[in-house]
């Protein structure tokens, strides 16, 4: 749960298109979500899952996290998707319509059964539940704690607005409560929060504004529908140079404080104590992932020696 893995950009790739699947190795996103659900017509569900299986089996030098969005477990395809795709070893499953903790628990049980059958470590397959209905938003806390496999909660605004019988706007005011509730549930459970897609691939300014809002609220990543969106999202999630410089100063200051036997010190007239250090550590870890600092900050620098 406490692992820090950079997941700024999770790009959807349609599961039934070889020309897109084959580009997965060259996309510079942090993760891809190969889609067997909405991007695949009903008549091609069988074809898509076999295509994805063979693609994954041949993609042995993996250079990003690979998730597969299966069809809902209560559809006639969900179980078959798992059965065909799991032997090809994706990193995890994006579960659509994760409306209740029980639905996630059911997936957890199925994944355990497949892990036993395939002779894999139990817990190998991770889960990213999609909270995309009014019911899911109400159940967010329970869902976040329903399985040890969950590394993040994903908010799905398109289906959410449909379930609310409202229009989705670019300002996103109508999403505010749901977006925040998903965040609270994720943060309280100590996991990441992934924001919804931005559908207009020609509106880079809109994408930037929405990503900035999501970052400001506390989201750590965003789902994308087009590779052209990757760079904008990475830019937003990259720490600013001033933030990194300040974070380095915070760590230096707290180390000085500890040498003096205290846990609080003033830096340029502002108080630095444990929560400030924690935030600085997060900035530095992200900066490390962006190649902006050379060393990964260690636990002792954050918490001090015991």
């Amino acid at each position: 749960m406490g692992d820090f893995k950079l997941r700024r950009s999770l790009l959807y790739v349609p599961g039934n298109m070889p020309s897109m699947l084959q580009n997965i190795p060259i996309f510079n996103c942090d993760a891809v979500i190969i889609d067997l659900e909405d991007a695949v017509p009903m008549s091609e569900k069988d074809a898509a899952r076999h295509l994805v299986k063979h693609f994954l089996m041949n993609y042995t030098e993996r250079n990003k996290e690979l998730l597969v969005r299966i069809n809902p477990l209560d559809s006639k395809w969900g179980y078959e998707d798992l059965k065909v795709v799991l032997p090809a070893l994706p990193d995890g499953i994006r579960l659509p319509k994760a409306d209740t903790p029980e639905i996630v628990e059911r997936l957890d049980t199925l994944l355990t059964e497949f892990e036993e059958e395939l002779d894999l470590e139990i817990g190998r397959f991770r889960v990213l539940p999609s909270l995309e209905s009014a019911l899911a938003i109400i159940n967010a806390v329970g869902i976040a704690n329903s399985s040890q496999r969950i590394f993040a909660l994903a908010f799905g605004a398109e289906d959410y607005t449909a379930s609310m019988e409202i229009e989705r706007t670019k300002g996103g005011e109508e999403l505010f409560n749901a977006r925040t509730r998903v965040l609270w549930a994720a943060k309280a459970a100590g996991i990441q929060a992934i924001d919804t897609i931005f559908a207009d691939v020609n509106d880079m300014e809109g994408l930037k504004a929405e990503t900035e809002l999501a970052k400001r609220l506390g989201y750590t990543g965003k789902c994308l529908v087009n590779p052209r969106q990757i760079e904008v999202v990475h830019d937003v999630f990259a720490p600013k140079k001033e933030e990194v410089d300040y974070a380095l100063q915070v760590i230096e200051a707290i180390q000085r404080a500890r040498a003096l036997g205290t846990g609080v010190i003033s830096l340029k007239g502002k108080m630095v104590d444990a929560p400030v250090v924690k935030r600085a550590a997060r900035v530095l870890r992200t900066a490390y992932a962006h190649g902006m600092v050379d060393t990964l900050i260690d636990e002792e620098a954050i918490h001090g020696a015991q």
């Binding site: 070889p18 084959q22 076999h50 295509l51 299986k53 063979h54 041949n58």
Partner: protein, 87 residues
């Protein structure tokens, strides 16, 4: 695996292929491809390998290829065979 009915699988997009299967007394394989000259033999070898692995001994197999890689050939042919064997 037995081809018991007429089916198809795949698409005409680039990097993909269409597979057409029909019941027949003998096994015949025909391949059309945008890259037939360069890769015809390799495509044929892949198709033969998949058919042999699934113990397909009879049927008409037609492939229209748009520059698909091996994994896609294998996947589309497998899908077509599963569809052709369904009751």
């Amino acid at each position: 695996m037995k081809i018991t009915r007429k089916v198809q699988a795949g698409t005409m997009q680039s990097s993909d292929l269409m597979v057409f299967l029909e019941p027949a007394e003998h096994l015949t394989v025909t391949i059309e491809s945008t890259v037939l000259k360069q890769f015809g033999e390799l495509i044929r070898a892949k198709v033969d390998e998949v058919l042999a692995r699934h113990h397909v001994e009879s049927g008409e197999v037609r492939i229209t290829d748009r520059g698909a890689l091996d994994y896609a050939i294998e996947a589309r042919l497998e899908t077509a065979l599963l569809r052709a064997a369904e009751e």
